[in-house]
Symmetry: C2
Subunit: 357 residues, 2 copies
C-alpha cells in the first residue's frame, strides 16, 4: 500500500485552510461538491483526463492550449462565456487539471467568475505540484509580461498524483526538480539528500515523501506570509538570475532550467561573501539536471535584466542568500562580487558544446 501524505496550507483569511494530498493514485479519489467545470490542457496524457473524469463527473470539461498558450486573456474570455453558457452558479466549482499554467488560468477564472467560485487543483507536473499549487497566486500573461494580471485565490483542496510524473518528458521532470532542490536549500537539509540521491526520479519509491516535503517547505512559508510582504521572498532563492536568463532568452529557456542555473549562481555569491558554501551541491544538481545549454552571454548583457528584479529597493537588487543551509537572508551584493561570481559561474556551466536553440 503506497503512502498518502497530507500538507496543510493556511491562506490569508477569510480564505479557509486547505489540504494538499500527495500520493500514487489519488486521481481516483477526487471529490468536489457542486457541479464541476474541469479545465485541462490539450497535451494532457489521456489516461489522466479519463481518471479525473471518472472520479469527478464534471458538468463541463474545457480543453485549453498547452503550457503558457493558455494563460491569455483571449482563452480566459472564452472560458468565462463557456461557464456562463453551462449555467454554472456560485455553488459550483472550477477544477484545474494539468501543469502550473493551467492551474494559474483556472485559478483566475475561479477567482473572477461570478466574483469568485470554489477552486480545486490537480497538478500533473512536478513544478505544478511543488510550486504553482501552493500559495494562492493565480494569473495570466499580457503581451507586456508574464503574470501581470491575476488574483490571490486559494484552492479548497489540491490533489498531487505522483503517478502522473512518470508520463512527463524526463527534461520536464528535471525542470520541476529545480524547485524541489531550491526548497531543500532554503529550509530542509534532509530533502537535499533525497534530491541528490541517485534513486531520485519518477520511479523513486520515496517520491511521495519527497514531493510532500517540498510542498511543506512552501506551505509553511506562504502560510506565514500569504501576501508576499516578508519571508516569502526567500522562495525566490536562485530566481534573480533565473528570471533574468528567461527574459534575456525571450522565453526560450524553461523556468526550471533557469532556476537550476540561478541556484548555482546564488551559491557562488554566498561563498564569495563568506556565507554558506553550497556550491558543490548546486554544481552536483546542475550536473544531474542537464539544463538546456546557454549561448555565450556577458554579465553586461544580463545586467539590465537583473536590475528588473521585484526585490529591488533604492539600494539596488536584494539577493536571497544562505547564511547557513536552511537559513536564507536577503541582502545587497556589491557589483564587483556579482561580476566575479558571474565569471566563475560561466566557467562552471559552459561546456561549449552547443547553444540554446
Amino acid at each position: 500500500m503506497a503512502p498518502i501524505e497530507s500538507v496543510t496550507v493556511s491562506p490569508e483569511p477569510p480564505q479557509p485552510p486547505y489540504t494538499v494530498t500527495v500520493g500514487a493514485g489519488v486521481l481516483g479519489q477526487l471529490s468536489v461538491p457542486g457541479r464541476v467545470a474541469l479545465i485541462y490542457p490539450e497535451d494532457l496524457p489521456p489516461q489522466w483526463l479519463q481518471q479525473a473524469q471518472t472520479s469527478l463527473q464534471p458538468h463541463v470539461a474545457l480543453r485549453v492550449p498547452a503550457r503558457d498558450g493558455c494563460k491569455t486573456l483571449a482563452v480566459y474570455t472564452d472560458l468565462l462565456s463557456q461557464l456562463a453558457q453551462a449555467g454554472l452558479t456560485r455553488q459550483d466549482a472550477v477544477v484545474g487539471l494539468g501543469g502550473g499554467a493551467v492551474t494559474d488560468l483556472a485559478g483566475f477564472l475561479a477567482a473572477s467568475y461570478l466574483r469568485g467560485v470554489s477552486f480545486y487543483t490537480v497538478p500533473t507536473t512536478l513544478l505544478g505540484m511543488v510550486d504553482a499549487a501552493v500559495g494562492g497566486k493565480t494569473g495570466l500573461n499580457l503581451p507586456e509580461g508574464k503574470n501581470l494580471v491575476g488574483a490571490f485565490w486559494s484552492p479548497l483542496h489540491v490533489w498531487c498524483d505522483v503517478n502522473t510524473l512518470a508520463t512527463l518528458p524526463p527534461q520536464t521532470f528535471r525542470e520541476g526538480a529545480a524547485e524541489v532542490f531550491k526548497h531543500s536549500l532554503i529550509a530542509d537539509p534532509a530533502l537535499q539528500e533525497r534530491v541528490l540521491d541517485p534513486a531520485f526520479g519518477p520511479s523513486d519509491p520515496q517520491l511521495t515523501a519527497t514531493v510532500a516535503a517540498a510542498i511543506r517547505v512552501k506551505a509553511d512559508i506562504v502560510s506565514r506570509d500569504p501576501r508576499e510582504k516578508g519571508e516569502r521572498a526567500f522562495l525566490n532563492y536562485g530566481h534573480t538570475l533565473a528570471h533574468a536568463l528567461e527574459a534575456w532568452s525571450g522565453g526560450r529557456l524553461a523556468h526550471g532550467d533557469a532556476v537550476g542555473y540561478g541556484l548555482h549562481y546564488a551559491a557562488l555569491l554566498g561563498r564569495a561573501l563568506g556565507l554558506a558554501d553550497v556550491t558543490a551541491r548546486t554544481a552536483a544538481f546542475l550536473a544531474w539536471q542537464q539544463p538546456q545549454p546557454l549561448p555565450p552571454l556577458s554579465f553586461e548583457a544580463l545586467q539590465p535584466y537583473l536590475a528588473r528584479d521585484k526585490k529591488a529597493d533604492l539600494g539596488g537588487v536584494r539577493w536571497v542568500l544562505l547564511r547557513e543551509p536552511g537559513q536564507p537572508t536577503l541582502q545587497h551584493v556589491p557589483l564587483a562580487v556579482l561580476r566575479e561570481a558571474f565569471r566563475q559561474w560561466q566557467a562552471d556551466v559552459y561546456d561549449g558544446s552547443n547553444a540554446l536553440s
Copy 2:
C-alpha cells in the same frame, strides 16, 4: 462654507476600512499616494475631468466608452496592456472617475492588475454615489449576462462631489434617486422625507446630507455583511421586479427607472400581506420620478424573468418586504398575491400615453 460629510465603510478583512467623503467641491481635494491611472468615460463633462486631473496629476488618464459600453472584457484587456506599458507597479493606484459602470470596471482592473493594486473612486452620478461606490463589488458584463465576472475589491477612499450632480441629465438624477429612496424605505424614515420634499434635486441645499445619509444606509449594511450572506439582501428591496423588467426590456429600461417601478410593486405586496403600507409614498415617488413609460406587459410574460432572481430557494423567490418602514424582511409570497398585486401595479403605473422606446 458648504458642509463636508464622511461615512466609514468596513469591508471584509484584510481589506481596511475606508472613508466616503461627500460634499460640494471635493473634486479639488483628491489625494492618492503613488502614481495614478485615471479611468474616465468619454461622456464625462470636461470640467470634472479637468478638476480631477488638476488635483490628482495622474501618470496616465485613460478614456473608455460611456455607460455599460466600458464594462467589457475587450475594454478591460486593452486597459491592462495600457497600465503595463505605462509601467505602473504595485505601489501605484487605479482611480475610477464617472458613473457606476466606470467604477465597476476600474475596480476589477485594480483588483487584478499585478494581482491587486490600490483603488479609489470618484463617482459623478447619484446612482454611482449611493449604490456602486460602496460595497466592494466590481465587475464586467459578458454577452451571456450582466456582472458575471468581477471581484470583491474595495476602494481605499471614495470622493463624492455633489456639484457633479448638477451636470447630469435630469432623468439620470431621478434614476439615482430611486436608490436613495429605497435606502430610506429599508432603514431611514427621515431620509424618506428629504427625498419626497419638493426641494430635492441637484440644487437642494441639503443635497450633501441626503447623499451622505443614503450612503450611510448601504455602508452600515455591507459592513455587517460584506459577502452577501445575510442582510445585504435587503438592499435588493424593489429589485426583484426591477431586474425582471430590465431583462424583459432587453436592457432598454434604465436601472433606476426599473427600481422606481419595483419599489411600488414591493409596497403593494407588503400591503396585500398585511405588512407595512408604504404604497402612498412609493406612488408619490413614482409621480415625481417619471420613469420611462412601459409598453403593455402581462404577469405571465414577466414570470420567467421573476423566477431568475438570485434570492430564490427551493420554495421559490424570496421577496424583500417591509414589516414596518425601516424594518425589512425576506419571505415567499403566494402566486395569487403576486398576480393580484401586479394587476394593481399596472393600474397605478400605466398612463397609456406612450411606450418604452
